[in-house]
């Protein structure tokens, strides 16, 4: 595996695992923060919290297990795109709402820097996805010839 790919996968995996565990340990706070999101329908926070948390943890594990990596990269890209849109909409219509991230370290309000962070992480995930697609198409060409 190429070093850049390995570092990116490791970094994203640690981030997803940490974010998932952090939310699990501060579940009540996460549900409360989720309800503060404009895109989340009123009262849907408790129903969305667990699937979202499970998704984050599974993506974190999937990025570390080679056979699961292609699927995990795709789900990570979709999740990061969703988080970016949700944060951007909040920033526009409910500025100053709780971010719902890093509860253990800081009770953080969502800011533009969170949106920028999610955009950079999204770009990393897209980079992995594009690299994977290129590798798959090259393998297909070699198999066909």
């Amino acid at each position: 595996m190429k070093p850049l790919r390995a570092i990116t996968l490791g970094f994203l995996a640690l981030l997803f695992l940490y974010a998932g565990l952090d939310k699990a340990f501060h579940y009540g706070g996460f549900v409360k923060a989720l309800d503060g999101y404009v895109l989340v329908p009123h009262g849907a926070g408790p129903h969305l919290a667990l699937p979202l948390l499970a998704c984050e943890l599974l993506v974190g594990v999937g990025l570390l297990v080679r056979p699961w990596q292609p699927a995990a990269v795709r789900v990570a890209t979709v999740l990061l795109a969703l988080f970016t849109v949700a944060l951007a909409v909040n920033q526009r219509y409910a500025p100053g709402a709780e971010c719902g991230c890093w509860f253990t370290l800081t009770v953080s309000r969502a800011t533009t820097s969170h949106i920028a962070q999610d955009l950079v992480l999204l770009a990393l995930a897209v980079g992995l996805w594009v690299e994977e697609r290129k590798a798959t198409s090259t393998t297909d060409i070699v198999r066909r010839s």
Binding site: L4, E98, F103, T106, V130
Partner: protein
């Protein structure tokens, strides 16, 4: 410079940016600690968390 080099350079740039933003985002913020402590009746740099929870 070919496309592959540009792609790798961009990915390195995004990785550096991600590490920077993540480190900055993880830093406890003083204003939040003050607000949190005021809401929860606790003291200290970041003594409580939402929902209000006193440290052990």
């Amino acid at each position: 410079m070919n496309g592959k080099t540009i792609f790798t350079a961009l990915r390195l740039l995004f990785l550096a940016g991600a590490i920077l933003f993540t480190s900055l985002g993880m830093m406890p913020k003083k204003s939040h600690a003050i607000r949190c402590n005021a809401d929860c009746g606790t003291q200290g740099p970041i003594a409580c968390n939402y929902p209000c929870r006193r440290p052990e």
